[in-house]
């Protein structure tokens, strides 16, 4: 036990039930989030987490500093350094005997051992442990590394559910962290026979298009960390990839043709299509981000889905487009409730989508590994990982596919797909990056994708649908979506973002830490932990594409 300082309690700054202050040598390196322990009454130990460190000297004013250099001589030397110390503010996180009276002046403060840290942060008796990273504390030679575990029931239900990850693109490694957690969940599920399946949306390049292939460039240190955390060093298992259909296979995906072909040969890749007959019910999702104050778009979609007003008997997308076009011509005495202008708007939007995307097709060829996503979701079984590639689709279609997948998962879990209860995984984790596209504060309230997201975050915990979401700026996200997440991971972000109300409760020094977190470093909040934790996690275990 290395003693590093003593408690200071003064008239102006007394120690309290919540926090205490201590001095340390000015050369001692200690960091925010480090745990310290303090001797306390009745031979108990109070644990604290460092929040703020200041350096202070007996200089009464800046002017004294100037005068001390011979009135501004920058080369002046001095025999004695000004007396100074580091002044540390720590938040109380617990006491070994449950004594919460304030720490006493002059009592010794020391570095904690691994067991102390676990006790202090509530990491020692976690039920249903699920690795979520590790903590590194102190400087060499006192440094310690402690694996951190979530209680899986607080991450993927039933006690608490949903995870939100925020941070700047590229610097925060949001996708990597989500995938690290998914890997941990899959490993745990395989060990414990828990029934979990995963639906992962690939929104960027080839990021997630080879998650069942090993990362050959993974450093040995990171492999060791995986083992220390109780995880194997194999990539994901039972992975299926779903690529958006296109004739040449590549115009709608960033995946390489030969990669996709070999995946298809191995029976783990499919291209997905939307067929009018079966998928027209999802048409509303295509117009999620369209402002529709008079609900005319909704009325049109409703007319198409229910086959009213000339939409009866349509069997493919081309016929639909023609029929819609027919409505755009001004005709007196017909369809008064929906104006021609609205039809024209709908036609414009719909035609644009059909022009841009190739997933809306008239038929499915199963022998060519083609499928509908609904079918894919219907066939998802425990431990399966469905990677759905939407990276190259336009924004509207991305929303459409994501909304449709969520709807399919929802229907599956609600038992509307005529499956045996045992066949349906008891939990399905959906991971979506760039959540701001679907659930930002600017998304129209009527957006069906937003409604679907709200449904999942609010009711998903009990149904076993868990949302892992990520976005650059948490502040942009709809309050009800992020409010329902039990776990929050904050990665590196910028100064503007931390000035927003979402970060109000985070101590100032942690806030500024958020602006300089390293790659692979997160500040995590989970109901099981007594305070925010600054955790790290190893590099991805699956194949990485350097250039997307």
């Amino acid at each position: 036990m290395k003693q590093i300082g003593r408690i200071i309690a003064t008239e102006k700054v007394p120690t309290t039930v919540d926090e205490f202050y201590f001095w340390t040598n000015k050369e001692l390196i200690i960091r925010p989030f480090d745990v310290v322990k303090v001797q306390h009454i009745q031979e108990s130990i109070t644990f604290g987490v460092v929040e703020e460190i200041s350096h202070l000297t007996d200089t009464s004013s800046s002017l004294a500093g100037f005068i001390s250099s011979d009135f501004g001589d920058v080369t002046s030397r001095e025999y004695t350094q000004r007396i100074g110390m580091n002044y540390v503010r720590a938040k109380v996180v617990g006491n070994s005997k449950g004594i919460y009276t304030p720490a006493l002046d002059g009592y010794s403060v020391s570095l904690a051992t691994e067991d102390d840290v676990k006790e202090a942060l509530g990491l020692n008796d976690i039920q249903n442990p699920l690795p979520c990273g590790y903590i590194e504390m102190y400087e060499k030679p006192d440094n310690i590394m402690i694996p951190v575990h979530f209680n899986s029931q607080f991450l993927i239900g039933p006690e608490g559910a949903h995870l939100n990850i925020s941070g700047i693109s590229g610097l925060a490694a949001k996708t990597s962290y989500a995938m690290f957690l998914l890997k941990a969940i899959q490993t745990m599920a395989l060990k414990t026979d828990e029934s979990v399946a995963f639906v992962v949306m690939n929104v960027k390049g080839r990021d997630l298009l080879a998650i069942d292939e090993p990362n050959d460039s993974l450093p040995a240190d990171d492999r060791k960390i995986y083992r220390d955390l109780g995880l194997d060093t194999n990539p994901f298992k039972y992975v299926k990839y779903y690529y958006p259909f296109s004739e040449d296979m590549t115009s709608s995906t960033y995946g390489r043709r030969n990669d996709i072909e070999s995946q298809m040969e191995l029976g783990k890749a499919f291209s997905y299509k939307y067929i009018f007959e079966d998928d027209k019910d999802s048409l509303d999702l295509l117009f999620s981000n369209v402002d529709d104050p008079n609900q005319t778009i909704e009325s049109i979609v409703n007319a198409i889905v229910t086959g009213q007003g000339g939409f009866n008997g349509i069997t493919n997308w081309n016929d639909l487009l023609k029929e819609v076009q027919a409505h755009t011509v001004a005709q007196s005495g017909k369809e008064k409730e929906i104006t021609v202008l609205s039809w024209r708007k709908f036609f414009r939007l719909f035609r644009k989508t059909l022009d841009k995307t190739t997933i809306f097709q008239n038929s499915i060829a199963k022998q060519k590994k083609e499928t509908r996503l609904r079918e894919a979701i219907k066939n998802i079984r425990k431990n399966d990982v469905c990677v759905i590639d939407i990276a190259k689709l336009d924004e509207e279609t991305q929303g459409f596919v994501f909304g449709d997948v969520m709807r399919a998962v929802y229907d599956l879990k609600l038992g509307q797909m005529e499956l045996e209860e045992a066949e349906i995984p008891s939990k399905i984790v959906i991971f979506i990056d760039e959540l701001n596209k679907y659930a930002s504060k600017d998304v129209p309230k009527s957006s069906p994708v937003l409604r679907q997201l709200l449904d999942i975050t609010e009711r998903g915990r009990s149904l076993g649908i868990i949302l892992f979401s990520a976005e650059q700026f948490k502040n942009d996200i709809h309050d009800r979506v992020k409010g329902n997440c039990a776990t929050h991971a904050y990665g590196r972000t910028n100064a503007i973002e931390i000035s927003k109300p979402d970060y109000q409760y985070i101590p100032a020094v942690y806030k500024s830490m958020l602006t300089r977190l390293k790659h692979g470093e997160y500040i995590v909040q989970n109901p099981v932990f007594r305070s925010l934790l600054n955790i790290k996690f190893p590099k991805p275990i699956y194949k990485q594409f350097k250039h997307g």
Binding site: E27, A64, S68, S76, E78, Y79, Q81
Partner: protein
């Protein structure tokens, strides 16, 4: 008996008035010229304080100081003593009224191992009470009576509980002053405070003696003592005979922030205060040799000083003619020193080192910042931090 005053009443057959308790120190908040300084020294006209007898004008030490600034400093130890006095009550003894005085005495010596490492080397803090000699109801030796009284006081629960102990009860003269002048200058309060002051000085000497005994003061590690080395004649105390302990002061330099410039004499024994006021920056005066007033204080023995002055801050940037000027003293030890004064090179080195101690400053914390040396200031602050708070101390009574 639960309180000191009750015990005093009982032991001295007196009666306490329970009058207002207060801190008796005059706060020295403004830099002042120490006109009260002892005039017990006389300049030796026929001798020089240093070996360079040709030095008549101020000597500029800027270059020497600059060259030395990269080397290990000469001073490694810093000594400061202070006391805080309190009037705790009035006591009636044989129909006369005397003040009951008390004090906290502290002497600290700090060591500078490196620019960043400043640690306490020795510290002594004592609590004392000063009572009139009249307080002793017996005719036997006062020392024994007061010592017993001290032991009884230390046994009081209230004192034990706080973990404090009184180290001594000092006895001040209760002789009725004869002349009117005496009445002014020898007020009982002042007599008592003087006793407490003497006790502190004794404590200082003791610490210097300890440091010498441990052999840690040597030619590379000097001790810088805050204040003058001109110890006043003392009637009591373990170290009252300075001649016997002057060998302890071989590596000790006294640096005074406050001094009476009137006492700076030229060789014709004329005051030359203006020479100090106009001393250029980083220059020192020639060193002069002084001797104790042998005629009146012969019992102290024969000891001589070299005294000189140095300006460490630019006059235009300080707020008085003597702000930024320090008075430096060294006791002359060897026969040669007593004859010829200090080696001029040593005087230069000592002075240059003191010039190099000028930064950092305690500007804003202490109004005497221009005359303060930072390590001394730190020692003083350390010492003060070890005192009991005034209200704590007064409530012991």
């Amino acid at each position: 008996m639960s309180r000191i005053l009750e015990l005093l009443e009982d032991a001295t057959n007196g009666s306490c008035y329970r009058s207002n308790k207060y801190c008796a120190d005059e706060d020295l908040s403004v830099p002042a010229i120490g006109y009260e300084e002892s005039r017990n020294l006389t300049i030796l006209k026929d001798r020089y304080g240093e070996t360079d007898t040709n030095l008549k004008a101020p000597k500029n030490l800027t270059d020497i100081a600059k060259n030395l600034s990269t080397e290990k400093p000469l001073f490694s130890y810093f000594l400061d003593g202070s006391r805080r006095t309190y009037k705790v009550d009035d006591i009636e003894l044989n129909k006369r009224i005397f003040p009951v005085m008390a004090g906290q005495i502290g002497v600290a010596c700090c060591e500078r191992k490196s620019p960043a490492t400043f640690r306490c080397k020795e510290i002594e803090t004592n609590l004392v009470i000063a009572l009139p000699s009249e307080a002793n109801p017996q005719t036997r030796s006062g020392a024994q009576f007061f010592n017993n009284l001290k032991d009884s006081i230390n046994k009081i629960d209230r004192i034990n509980r706080t973990g404090t102990q009184f180290s001594k009860i000092l006895e001040y003269s209760s002789k009725i002053p004869n002349s009117r002048e005496d009445q002014e200058s020898k007020k009982y309060e002042h007599l008592a405070i003087a006793m407490i002051q003497d006790e502190m000085i004794d404590c200082e000497k003791k610490i210097v003696s300890t440091l010498t005994a441990k052999n840690i003061l040597n030619e590379d590690n000097y001790l810088l003592k805050d204040g003058s080395l001109q110890y006043k004649p003392m009637r009591t105390g373990e170290y009252k005979e300075l001649t016997k302990i002057k060998n302890n002061y071989r590596r000790v330099i006294g640096v005074s922030k406050l001094f009476n410039p009137e006492l700076f004499r030229d060789r014709n024994n004329k005051s030359n205060a203006a020479a100090i006021a106009n001393l250029p920056l980083y220059s020192r005066t020639p060193a002069f040799m002084f001797q104790h007033d042998l005629a009146n204080q012969g019992h102290l023995g024969d000891y001589k000083f070299s005294i000189w002055y140095v300006r460490i801050r630019d006059q235009s940037k300080t707020d008085g003619p003597f702000a930024g000027v320090l008075k430096i003293e060294k006791i002359l030890i060897t026969d040669r020193e007593n004859e010829e004064g200090l080696e001029s090179d040593l005087v230069d080195i000592i002075t240059a080192n003191i010039i190099n101690e000028r930064n950092p400053v305690c500007y804003g914390k202490d109004s005497r910042w221009a005359n303060h040396l930072y390590p001394v200031y730190l020692t003083e602050q350390y010492l003060k931090s070890r005192y009991l708070s005034d209200s704590h101390f007064l409530n012991l009574f």
